[in-house]
């Protein structure tokens, strides 16, 4: 797609733009629960902020790259053990690179982004409640999780796509609102044992972007 864009004759509308992004994301962590039928996985909201740059080849096609800090949080609880409930907080640094297609008028335009991303799992923590049946006590806890190099896959990549609208404030400034979806194709677990156990993040985001257009 990018190659096609590059082969297209550049028009007089070719231009750079840079911006900052901020928004919220909702992540769902998929794991095969097998026969653990009392487990429940729930999505959680998180935040995302970043910087973005876009080069528009034409007035309808550009290439965009972001550098985002993004949270991929989720919740896990047990219906058989009500005292057990965990909230995971995971911070990632991500680099989505997308082709950006836009359409519409001068002031108000629609757009669609499609591409891939690479990311790195910066850190992880969890909080919640658990129970010690031997001591017959339930506890609230909050802890940082240490990565295990054998088990945890810290590199993340996948596909990303989004749709949104842009409002051109003036010659050099524009605002965007975008709904985006990250589909991870990398399991958060390495295959550290002969029994395959893959777990994936699925993250939706709603973000605002303020652009300066050169």
């Amino acid at each position: 797609m990018l190659a096609l864009a590059l082969m297209t004759a550049l028009t007089a509308n070719a231009q750079w733009r840079v911006g900052v992004t901020a928004g919220a994301d909702y992540n769902v962590h998929s794991m095969d629960l097998q026969y653990m039928d009392d487990f429940r996985m729930q999505g959680r909201w998180g935040a995302t902020v970043g910087v973005t740059g876009q080069y528009d080849f034409t007035n309808w096609l550009g290439v965009r790259a972001d550098l985002n800090w993004m949270q991929k949080n989720y919740r896990q609880y047990r219906t058989n053990l009500s005292e057990v409930h965990y909230k995971y907080r995971n911070n990632y640094l991500q680099l989505p690179v997308m082709a950006s297609f836009s359409f519409g008028g001068e002031k108000l335009r629609g757009f669609c982004n499609l591409g891939a991303y690479a990311g790195y799992w910066l850190n992880s923590s969890r909080s919640g409640g658990d129970t010690n049946v031997f001591s017959e006590h339930s506890y609230d806890f909050s802890e940082k999780l240490e990565f295990d190099s054998e088990r945890d896959q810290r590199w993340d990549c996948g596909f990303v796509g989004g749709v949104g609208v842009e409002y051109r404030l003036c010659k050099h400034w524009a605002l965007q609102a975008e709904a985006r979806y990250y589909y991870s194709t990398t399991s958060t677990r390495k295959q550290y044992m002969r029994v395959k156990d893959y777990r994936y993040n699925n993250t939706s985001a709603i973000q605002l972007v303020a652009y300066y257009i050169f």
Binding site: D32, M36, D130, H137, T185, S187, M193, D197, Y198
Partner: protein
């Protein structure tokens, strides 16, 4: 144009969704699942796969084992072909129990958990083959044989002639009782005027009768039959076989009215215990108990639900145990209030553990109410190898009722390689007490806990299969135990602050039971502080 976009979108979705891998199917091994255990009924390779996969999902110590150098996946690759070879063997060379045990031991002996046991049914011989890795590991300990051979015997110390016992009203202050099968047999055989001694005396009487009546002839014959059968029953090695056989004779020969020939409550086969109390010179309160099974004897509610207390003989046994513990406890209360308590020695050598609630009657009877944190527990929280809960405080139960807090006198716990589980938890408690000291030899290394309920695997740990039902049964730790420093000692044990060996020669003297060098060292520490 629209169709092209739609086909393109569909292809894109297919491409995207095919980028994710599919998990292996997991089978549940915590109950008698036909799919999980089917192949294990008739195949050694099937049994091995159940064992390997069951442990892979339910064993709580994989991170610890990894630190110890164990590669569990490599174990699968190495041993599956060996079990497959057993399956392929010709029927003319049957696979023996010893062969199965040897191979199974090689698979499991690297595992460090001190409680873990695996039981396979050898489908060729029909026999059960058991492997307990901690027994294999501890067999090489320098006190392993001694810990098995000798149970604490304080007869030297309770003999007033040896000057080690406090005397009150001319009597040594000591008490002991036992509901262990071997001790009940011993009492039945050797109590004058009761049991076997009465039978033998009566038989002799009847044999020497010059002109016996018909009734006396009948009684003599019956007593002779009873005596013969009793000799066989009383030689049973364990309560599980002995008690039902004994009770059967009680029922059959009740008309003979033999004193002390009473049915034994079946609860004593699981809840038997031996206890000893002595107030040693210097007002040192010594207490020994063979297992953490005090609760059914001390807690009234528990006693009512465990034993048939309406039976006079049963009530006496329960009272016998309770009164020994109570003598120890009450002596401490009294002497500590008066300010004359010298110290406390609790003996858990050879004690294999048991009920958590017992903690309040032992070390917990010396500590403030409200519980005592002795470390941390971590549970399995899923079927992945490293799916764990956070570390949670491990709290020992302490006595709720008002009692003396013994924080100003030495408290010694005697341990050895036969001290397991709750005995080691008690060691963790005493070690943390400012006035506590561990004396003896390093404990067993079985600090992780197990859940007794065979159907409770809500932690995705605890059991593989069902005992005596599935061809593979595993008793698996439900949790990992950590010290207050967040160290794991599983398979290693707790080292005493003062290490001292048990001297067999000092104990087994030509004139009888002699000194116990570990008790001697404890007494020295309590009396001198060294």
């Amino acid at each position: 144009m629209k169709k092209i976009y739609m086909i393109g979108a569909a292809l894109l979705m297919l491409l995207v969704s095919s980028c994710r891998e599919t998990n292996d199917v997991l089978l549940p091994y915590d109950h008698n699942d036909v799919l999980a255990f089917g192949a294990a009924e008739y195949s050694f390779a099937g049994k091995f796969k159940v064992t390997w996969n069951g442990l892979n999902q339910y064993y709580a110590l994989w991170d610890y084992e990894k630190e110890q150098g164990l590669d569990w996946d490599a174990v699968y690759d190495e041993y599956l072909p060996q079990f497959e070879a057993l399956d392929e063997r010709d029927d003319s060379i049957p696979v023996t129990d010893d062969e199965v045990k040897e191979l199974l031991s090689k698979v499991l002996s690297p595992l460090h958990d001190g409680h873990f046991a695996m039981l396979w049914k050898n489908h060729v011989t029909g026999n059960n083959v058991t492997c307990v890795p901690s027994l294999i590991r501890n067999a090489s300990r320098d006190d392993a044989e001694i810990a098995k051979k000798y149970k604490p015997n304080i007869s030297y110390y309770t003999n007033p002639a040896n000057g080690e016992i406090e005397i009150s009203d001319g009597e040594p202050v000591c008490l002991e009782y036992s509901t262990l099968w071997t001790d009940m047999v011993d009492r039945f055989r050797n109590t004058p005027g009761q049991g076997m001694m009465w039978i033998e005396d009566r038989l002799l009487q009847l044999i020497n009768q010059p002109l016996p009546t018909e009734m006396e002839i009948f009684q003599r014959q019956s007593l002779s039959d009873l005596s013969t059968q009793l000799l066989e029953v009383l030689s049973q090695p364990n309560a599980e076989q002995g008690i039902p056989a004994f009770n059967s004779l009680v029922e059959r020969y009740s008309y003979l009215n033999v004193p002390g020939f009473d049915a034994i409550d079946n609860a004593f086969s699981q809840m038997a215990i031996s206890v000893k109390f002595a107030l040693l010179k210097g007002n040192i309160a010594y207490f020994y108990f063979s297992g953490f099974r005090l609760t059914p004897y001390i807690n009234e509610e528990y006693a009512q639900s465990t034993f048939n207390l309406n039976n006079y003989a049963t009530f006496n046994h329960v009272y016998g145990i309770w009164s020994v513990w109570y003598s120890w406890f009450e002596t401490i209360q009294q002497l500590h209030k008066e300010g004359t308590l010298g110290g406390v020695i609790i003996d858990v050598r050879g004690n294999g553990g048991g009920m958590m609630s017992d903690a309040q009657f032992v070390a917990g009877a010396l500590l403030p109410s409200g519980g005592f944190q002795y470390g941390y527990h971590r549970f399995k929280r899923g079927t992945g190898r490293y799916d764990y809960s956070p570390l949670m405080p491990a709290i020992a139960v302490t006595m709720d009722d008002e009692h003396e807090i013994v924080d100003d006198k030495p408290v010694v716990l005697l341990i050895n390689s036969g001290s397991v589980s709750m005995a080691e938890m008690t060691a963790q408690v005493v070690r943390l007490m400012p006035n506590g000291k561990l004396i003896g030899k390093r404990s067993h290394g079985g600090l992780c806990g197990l859940i007794d309920n065979e159907y409770n695997s809500t932690n995705y740990a605890g059991h593989i299969g069902i005992r005596d039902v599935t061809p593979v049964y595993g008793y698996v730790p439900s949790l990992a135990s950590f010290t207050m420093d967040k160290e794991q000692l599983e398979g290693v044990g707790i080292s005493p602050g003062i290490e001292v060996a048990f001297d067999e020669n000092a104990f087994n003297t030509p004139t009888g039971i002699g000194r116990d060098t570990q008790i001697d060292r404890a007494l020295q520490y309590v009396r001198t502080g060294n």
